[in-house]
Every structure is written in structure tokens, then in C-alpha cells.
């Protein structure tokens, strides 16, 4: 004879029988127990139909019901979701009044401010005004209006912007590619801008924009020491301690864009050539023309989980004969968006050349890691436009990004001037 055994161990079976026996008996079971005191609970259970047993279990549960609820933590998080915290808090604020973070030049320190935005959900235009302050003592007041708002598909984008900045301690290391970190000095830049642009077919394959504006700028000794004037003869630094200068600015750009997507692209190329003309309307000493070429390419290495991102950028500012390019309008190298192994504003001159190479790999849908290599130089003479004497840096980066290109970037970089950590928003390029 072969025993057909149950898959339940005897110990567990006894345990369960005891549980069944200890639970409150049904009226039918009580009646049976009275009639046949020797009958065990399990025998009684065995005689019931399946439906009766299930019914009894439900009746049993019906006697111990309690209101269904969610845990305290879940309720709290749900509350945040209903108020759309922190998105509403940061984006919409209270009736449009909201805190603002960042938005000042790189190296400003932690920037916090307050602003008002109108038209977040509107169809035609969006406007905002902000006041920002940084831990380095900078102040910035700005306002802009965009037609149509960024979230709406468009064929043309119009933007008007007004901005006042008081940047009290900008770093300056001297002009030229051989400037020394030991020569760090500071100056104050106070400027006001009114401008705008019209961009046709933005983010299309080929787009064009025209821009123009008015810029007023003035420099002086910074709030930190030493000042530029202490470190460098003023005559060698065009524009330092010059009278307040007004500029009219006109220009535009042409862009060719074949990226697979605008945010976090994985394949394709975008190239932009920008031309700007600065006319000094007060001193008549700082008229110049700037041409910038910026090319970014994204090459998947096999599957798109590995991307080689490349950037080549060069800027050339040419002063009119007898004039100079003011130092505070020269483009700089160093910092989170150029050569990351160096401080912000580390190198500056009328011309520069920048190369960035990043090997990015996917870690999660919303996070990438990257190794990067940066190289760049500044120069004044057109003949130095080559890849010699480049300053280099390399490092490792962690990037978190969400839909809408809201990126938080941590870049750990090294160069001949040591290690740098950059925590910043937005993509490296």
C-alpha cells in the first residue's frame, strides 16, 4: 500500500487545526458541539460544504471590520502630491510668487531669490520678474516675456528681456593663456540690459534668429581683495575703471539641428553660428564684433546606452581699429561648462577655443555617469588659433535628469591646478 501524503507537514496541520478551533465558533458549530461533545472542530469543519466554510470565514471577518485606511506616511505623501509639492512650490508658487534658485553667472555661489510668473498655463505668452541674491553678495533683477510660452509648440519665438546685475566680486586672473592662478583678483561689474530676439522655426532643422538690445556696463574694484587694479596696471586691462559705457547690440544666429531630441540627445549634431556687433555709444573706445561657432555632436557607441558627446566651440571678438574689447565682455574658460578642472573665469582673452569630450553611459532612465576630458585655450592673435598650448582637465560626472531637461550635475574634475567639484544645473553641453 502506498500512502498518498498531504503536502502539508503534520506539525503545521496541527497548528492550523488549533487555530481553527480557537477562532470563534459559528452558531452551527456551537450547536454541533453541544450535541456531540466529542466531535473535534476539524471534523465539524470537514462536514461543511466549501461554500459554507467560506461563508463562515466572511461572517467571522464581518465581526471585526475596521475602516480601510492608508498609512500615515502614505497619507502625508499623498498630501504632497495633491498640492503638487515641490513642483507647484517652485514653478508656480503662491499666485505666481515663487522662490527662484540660480540664474546668475557661474561662480556666484548659492543663489536664492523671489519672483513672480504669469502665464504658466496660458496659451499666448508668459512673463516673469525675479530678484536674486547670491552668497557672494551679488544682486540681479530680471524680467522677461516670451511669446508663445515654452510649453506650446511654435513656429516662432519672441523673447524680451530686461536685466540688472551687480556682481560685486568677479574673479579675474589676467589676460592671456599664461595667466597665473596666483594673480587672482576681483572686480565689480554693474550692468543693465534691455534686449530681445525673434527666433524662426526654433528647434527645427534649420532655424534663424535676430537679436538686439541695449547694454550699459560699469566696472570698479570688487568687494574682495586684491582688486584688479592692485594686481594689474589699469592700462593693460581694457575697460577697467573706464567710465560707464553703453552699447547697442545687434546680431543673430543660424542653427542647424539634427539631434534625435532636444533634451539629453543621444545621436545627432547641432551647430550654431552667432554674430554680434557691439557699438560703444558713450566712450567710442569699445566697438567690436564677435563671432561664435559652437558644434555639438552625439555619437552612440553601439547601442545608445553609451554615448560619445563632443563639443567644439570657438569665439572670436575683433575690435575695430583703435578700439579694444573690454575685458568684462570677453568670454572666459574654466568652470562647470568649459574646462572643469579650473576655476570659473580662469582664462580670458578676446578669442578662445574649447574642446569637450564626454563618454556618457546610462545608469538609469533618469541618471547617467560620464568620464570627461576638456581642453581649451584663450588667445588674442588670430594666428594662435590652433590646438597648441591647450589647458586640459579630466574627470568623472554624475547627472540626474528629468523630463524637461532639468539636470542636476555633479562633476569631479582634475587639472594642473588641482581637484574641483562642480554642482550645477543644466547639461554640460
Amino acid at each position: 500500500m502506498r500512502q498518498i501524503t498531504s503536502s502539508l507537514s503534520p506539525g503545521i496541520a496541527v497548528f492550523i487545526v488549533s487555530l481553527v478551533s480557537s477562532s470563534a465558533p459559528s452558531p452551527a458549530a456551537q450547536a454541533q458541539a453541544t450535541a456531540d461533545p466529542g466531535a473535534s472542530a476539524e471534523q465539524e469543519t470537514g462536514r461543511k460544504t466549501r461554500a459554507e466554510t467560506l461563508q463562515e470565514m466572511r461572517e467571522e471577518k464581518s465581526r471585526e471590520l475596521s475602516p480601510e485606511s492608508v498609512s500615515r506616511w502614505e497619507a502625508r505623501i499623498r498630501g504632497w502630491e495633491e498640492t503638487q509639492f515641490p513642483r507647484n512650490w517652485l514653478v508656480k508658487g503662491w499666485n505666481g510668487f515663487r522662490p527662484v534658485f540660480g540664474g546668475m553667472p557661474s561662480g556666484s555661489g548659492f543663489v536664492l531669490g523671489a519672483g513672480y510668473i504669469h502665464g504658466l498655463a496660458a496659451q499666448y505668452f508668459q512673463a516673469q520678474a525675479n530678484a536674486r541674491f547670491s552668497t557672494r553678495g551679488y544682486t540681479m533683477l530680471d524680467g522677461e516675456a516670451v511669446f508663445p510660452p515654452p510649453q506650446v509648440g511654435r513656429r516662432v519665438e519672441l523673447k524680451f528681456r530686461a536685466q540688472y546685475r551687480d556682481l560685486t566680486s568677479l574673479r579675474f586672473y589676467g589676460l592671456g593663456n599664461d595667466s597665473s592662478v596666483e594673480s587672482q583678483s576681483f572686480y565689480q561689474l554693474e550692468d543693465t540690459l534691455f534686449g530681445g530676439y525673434a527666433w524662426l522655426n526654433p528647434r527645427g532643422l534649420l532655424s534663424f534668429a535676430a537679436e538686439g538690445g541695449f547694454l550699459r556696463a560699469e566696472t570698479s574694484s570688487g568687494s574682495e581683495q586684491p582688486s584688479v587694479g592692485d594686481e594689474f596696471p589699469a592700462v593693460e586691462i581694457p575697460g577697467f575703471d573706464a567710465p560707464r559705457t553703453d552699447y547697442s547690440v545687434v546680431g543673430g544666429w543660424v542653427e542647424f539641428d539634427v539631434r534625435d531630441k532636444w533634451e539629453d540627445p543621444q545621436v545627432g549634431l547641432v551647430a550654431r553660428i552667432t554674430g554680434l556687433r557691439y557699438d560703444d555709444t558713450v566712450v567710442n573706445a569699445f566697438d567690436f564684433t564677435r563671432v561664435v561657432a559652437d558644434v555639438k555632436g552625439y555619437v552612440p557607441l553601439g547601442p545608445k546606452s553609451r554615448i560619445l558627446a563632443l563639443r567644439l566651440r570657438t569665439s572670436h571678438s575683433t575690435a575695430d581699429i583703435g578700439d579694444a574689447v573690454p575685458f568684462y565682455l570677453m568670454e572666459t574658460l574654466g568652470g562647470a561648462k568649459s574646462i572643469r578642472g579650473f576655476n570659473e573665469f580662469r582664462f580670458q582673452d578676446t578669442r578662445n577655443l574649447l574642446v569637450n569630450v564626454e563618454y556618457r553611459w546610462e545608469v538609469w532612465t533618469f541618471a547617467d555617469f560620464a568620464f570627461f576630458f576638456d581642453a581649451g585655450k584663450v588667445f588674442a592673435d588670430e594666428e594662435d588659433f590652433d590646438f597648441k598650448d591647450m589647458h586640459t582637465g579630466y574627470g568623472f560626472g554624475i547627472r540626474g535628469h528629468a523630463p524637461g531637461d532639468v539636470t542636476l550635475r555633479f562633476d569631479f574634475a582634475h587639472s594642473t591646478e588641482g581637484f574641483k567639484l562642480h554642482i550645477s544645473g543644466g547639461p554640460s553641453f
Binding site: L19, V20, S23, Q55, E68, L120, S305
Partner: protein
């Protein structure tokens, strides 16, 4: 001290499965085909609202299920099937539905009539895809869903096709209709508010409504294609979780993670690429019927199925990994990009030609490796027996029936329907093979005049060749003592019909059953050597299959 709730749980673990109650394995009413879980719940249950973030992150970092991984479902009957209940109603697999019935699905009418005026009484304007709710000429209320503005037909086709499939399988789903409606016919109910993407309410004017829908593509007659999802009956009381039970529902005695229909849903979701199978896409309603209240359980929102991601094409990584797949993240972090996530290898159909079908493919699809949004407690507990159950349901559809269902998606181009169907069948075959070959695949056991017949489902569906033979051993099973006595020697045969032993049982021996162990012998599937044990109860002069034990 064990709580009564825990006692109930442990007892429930034993009840429908009918394995272990000492003294009697089978009850007189076994196998039950319906579990009447409509015990009166006179008090309206609490309305609960779950947190989306808590739901997503919670399941990533914690398993909310209480039963052990690998434990079996507890709400199956003695035939290892799911009885009908407020959770599930066996439909196509039990009584074949006609093509018309499959196409109709849950719909009980023709839907909101396009020639009637629909009155908008609720709206939301979030991003580019608006949503609103209307009341039709008969007063029925519908949630109106729109396709992504740049990809017409994507989510509406997916929603309706999935609805028909899930309904035919047995789940409770809302009535979903594809309707072509002229935007000029909409009326706005006075006082209607519209909610913007920040949750702010403002009056919905006709002008604003037109602005909301201005980018929705128009058909040649000026109408818009939209999906009308009818309000489900009863009072909505919130979603059900895929774990534990509701504390205020006396009928809810089986932990949800241990319900067969929720565990097996994993394979069905894999087939249909329903990656959004989470609590937020379910709904419980309190139904008051003939003065009796009870809770009915629904699956909702099939917009993120097949190649559709509801508001866009399905994201390429979803369905290949959890939205936050910690194992994959670890591999990626240390892999320096040389560990390529599986989804990166997938070749999708050509876009934009096949955008309306979305990211829908069958070549790279792996039912076992398929992932929904997060580790759903019921899904991670799916055992081979659960998968076998689900695979049978999946394979119950013929290609012709699936074609009829796909037609209800009303794709405007035949090549889209053809491609959709091709992938649906490819994935059906993969799911069927995975689920059916995972256990000894004998099923469809029935007593005929000539004996006990069964079907090797793997052979039936062409998943193996017909070289299977069967090792059979009979016994007499004593239901009162849970013991068995072998009859004769085990025999091996090729046929799928067994002659019943004669003269073994006589009428009146209520507790004696015939038992038969059937092992399938196939060189490619040594795991099939685990027996399917079948129990036969004498009914007059014949026998009835009363129980099936299937080892995982």
C-alpha cells in the same frame, strides 16, 4: 497570540485549495465554480486614495506581500482553477464566446451616440493632451480620452483592444468605446471647472474648451476620434492594492498577493504589454444591488498597453525593466556602458510609419524577463501553476478571434492592424509556451464513456512534438483519512485516454475516490515527470473529476 485576521488568512490558505484539512480533502460541493463573495456590506466602505509616489517607490524598496515567495495561490478550487467572484468571471476559456461577443466585450450599448449633444461637466488641461468628462443624451457619464496629438489612434486602439482581451479573459473592466464626434456638438455645463497642470481650477468656457482641443487631429468630416470610457457601476471607493486585504470588506478574505487571478495577471500583462499594472489603475466600487451592498473590483485604464504609453509611444525601457530597476542600475553603474540594458537591443517597427502601433514587438519579448512598472507583490509571487493557469487563458484565443478583437481598435490602415495582430500572436505563443511548458502540461481532464481523457496542452499548441508518453498509476483515495492505496502496477502508455479500473468502487462509499497519477515523459522536459494527480468521485454509474493536484 495570533490575531483572528491571521487565523482567517491561514484558514483561507487551506480552504479553496482543499489540500490539508485533516479528515476530508474534498467537500460535497467540490469543485466550486463560484465563490459567492457578495456577503452584504451594508456600510459604505471608506474611500481611500493612494499615493502614486509611495506606491511606486514603496514596491521598489519593499515587498508588501506577506506570503513566502514560491507559495501557491490560495483562492483556487480543487481543480486548480479560479472560481467566479467579484474579482474575476471565467468567460471565454469556459464557454467560448462568439466573435460578436468578443468584439462587444464589456459594452452593453452602442456607447454615446455621435449625433447627440454631449455635455462637458469636468475638464483638465494638462500639457498638450487634454481630458474631460461628459454626459451623453441618455445621461450616462463618460471619461473622454484623446490620443497623443501627434500620434492619432495610438492609445485609443490600445485601450479598446486591451479592454476586449481582459474582459474575455475574465477581468472586470469598464465599457470603452471609440467614437467619432464633431467638436461643435459639445456643450459646456454651466459652472464647469477646468483644472490646469498645477491643479488650479478655473471656469471652463466654450472659448477655452476650443483652445483645449484645438490641436486634436480632425478627421475628414471635421470630427475627432476619441475614447469614451463609461463610468463603472457603483460608488468608487478607491483602488485595490496588489497586497493584503481590505479591512472593511468582509468578503475580502484572501490576501490579494495570493489571488491566482492577480498573480496570473502578470503573464497576461506581459502578453499585452500592460506595464502599468499597479494599484492606481484599479478601482473598487461599492455596488448596492437589491438592497445588498458589496465591493466589485475592476482593472482600469488600458492606455499604456501594447505599444502605447498613453500620452506617447511606450518608453523603450519599460516592460524590459522596472521603472527603477535596482539590479539593472547596479550593473549599469559598474559596467561603464559595456553592460547594455536588454531594451537597447530591440529593433522596433519603423517610425513614423508605425507610430500608431507604437513600440510593439514580439521578437525580443521574453515573458519571463518582462517587467511591469514595479515589483507588484502578486506578480513576484506568480508560480508555475499560476503561469499555467494564465497561459491556458491566453491560448484560448484563436488567431481568428484575436483578429476580430484587433479590428475593434479601428486602425485606419490595414497594415497597422496586420502588424499589431502578428505581434500579438507571436507574444501569445511565447507566453503560452512559457506557462504551459513550465509544469506537467496535462489538462482538459474529462470522464467519457471510454474512460478518463486528457490533453497534453503543449502538444495541442505545438510547443513540443508528439513524443510524450505517460506513466500512469491508479489508487483508491480515502477522503476521510487522506490516504491512498495503490491499485495494480504503474503502466506507461502513449494514448491520452485511460481506462477506468472496474469494480473498484461501489456506490455508497462516499469517501472513496479514484486517484490517478499521470507523469509525462518527454526527453526535452524532465520536469514534466512530476505527476498530475487527478481525483475522481463516483456519481451514480459514472465518475466526475473532482480534483487536480499539480506540482510546481
Amino acid at each position: 497570540m495570533m490575531s483572528k485576521k491571521t487565523c482567517a488568512f491561514l484558514l483561507a490558505t487551506l480552504i479553496l485549495g482543499a489540500r490539508q484539512l485533516p479528515g476530508q480533502k474534498f467537500r460535497t460541493d467540490d469543485p466550486i465554480h463560484a465563490d459567492d463573495d457578495r456577503l452584504d456590506t451594508p456600510q459604505e466602505p471608506a474611500h481611500i486614495r493612494l499615493s502614486d509616489a509611495y506606491d511606486r517607490f514603496g514596491h521598489i524598496f519593499h515587498d508588501f506581500g506577506r506570503s513566502a515567495i514560491g507559495s501557491e495561490a490560495v483562492n483556487v478550487n480543487t481543480l486548480d482553477e479560479v472560481p467566479n467572484s467579484t474579482w474575476f468571471t471565467n468567460r471565454h476559456s469556459i464557454k467560448r464566446m462568439s466573435v460578436e461577443e468578443l468584439q462587444r466585450g464589456p459594452n452593453r450599448s452602442a456607447g454615446p451616440h455621435p449625433n447627440e449633444t454631449w455635455t462637458v461637466f469636468k475638464g483638465k488641461s494638462q500639457g498638450l493632451t487634454p481630458g474631460f468628462e461628459v454626459r451623453d443624451g441618455k445621461g450616462d457619464r463618460y471619461v473622454i480620452k484623446l490620443d497623443p496629438v501627434d500620434i492619432p489612434e495610438l492609445s485609443s486602439a490600445a485601450e479598446v483592444i486591451a479592454t476586449k482581451i481582459f474582459y474575455a479573459i475574465g477581468y472586470h473592466v469598464p465599457e470603452n468605446y471609440i467614437v467619432r464626434y464633431h467638436p461643435d456638438r459639445f456643450e459646456i455645463e454651466p459652472g464647469t471647472q477646468v483644472e490646469d497642470q498645477f491643479g488650479d481650477q478655473s471656469p471652463l468656457t466654450r472659448w477655452r474648451f476650443r483652445r483645449m482641443i484645438r490641436r486634436v487631429p480632425r478627421l475628414s468630416d471635421g470630427s475627432m476620434r476619441l475614447t469614451a470610457s463609461k463610468y463603472i457601476p457603483g460608488i468608487p471607493i478607491g483602488p485595490f492594492r496588489y497586497h493584503e486585504t481590505r479591512s472593511d470588506d468582509p468578503n475580502d478574505i484572501f490576501p490579494h498577493e495570493d489571488r491566482r487571478e492577480l498573480r496570473g495577471l502578470r503573464l497576461i500583462a506581459a502578453w499585452t504589454n500592460h506595464d502599468d499594472t499597479r494599484a492606481h489603475n484599479t478601482q473598487d466600487t461599492w455596488v448596492n444591488e437589491n438592497g445588498k451592498g458589496y465591493i466589485q473590483h475592476y482593472l482600469l485604464d488600458f492606455g499604456s498597453t501594447f505599444g502605447s504609453g498613453s500620452v506617447d509611444m511606450q518608453l523603450p525601457n519599460l516592460s524590459f525593466q522596472y521603472w527603477l530597476d535596482l539590479e539593472q542600475v547596479k550593473k549599469n553603474m559598474v559596467g561603464f556602458g559595456f553592460v547594455v540594458p536588454p531594451y537597447r537591443h530591440v529593433k522596433w517597427p519603423e517610425f513614423p510609419e508605425y507610430q500608431a502601433v507604437g513600440r510593439w514587438e514580439g521578437t525580443y519579448f521574453d515573458p519571463e524577463g518582462w517587467r511591469n512598472d514595479y515589483p507588484n507583490p502578486a506578480f513576484v509571487r506568480m508560480t508555475p501553476r499560476d503561469a499555467f493557469w494564465a497561459a491556458k487563458l491566453i491560448m484560448s484565443f484563436t488567431p481568428e478571434e484575436l483578429q476580430a478583437i484587433v479590428e475593434t481598435g479601428e486602425y485606419s490602415r490595414p497594415e497597422w492592424s496586420q502588424y499589431f495582430l502578428k505581434v500579438l500572436i507571436e507574444r501569445q505563443q511565447k507566453c503560452g509556451r512559457f506557462g504551459i511548458n513550465g509544469v506537467n502540461p496535462l489538462d482538459e481532464l474529462r470522464v467519457t464513456e471510454t474512460g478518463l481523457e486528457f490533453t497534453n496542452l503543449s502538444e495541442k499548441y505545438g510547443f513540443v512534438d508528439d513524443r510524450t508518453s505517460y506513466r500512469v498509476s491508479w489508487s483508491i483515495y480515502n477522503n476521510a483519512a487522506d490516504t491512498g492505496e495503490a491499485i495494480g502496477e504503474a503502466a506507461t502508455q502513449k494514448e491520452t485516454r485511460l481506462s477506468l479500473p472496474t469494480g473498484v468502487l461501489t456506490t455508497g462509499e462516499e469517501n472513496l475516490f479514484l486517484g490517478v497519477d499521470i507523469r509525462s515523459l518527454h526527453d526535452d522536459h524532465p520536469e514534466w515527470n512530476k505527476p498530475v494527480r487527478v481525483y475522481l468521485r463516483r456519481r451514480g454509474q459514472s465518475y466526475q473529476v473532482v480534483g487536480i493536484d499539480r506540482e510546481s
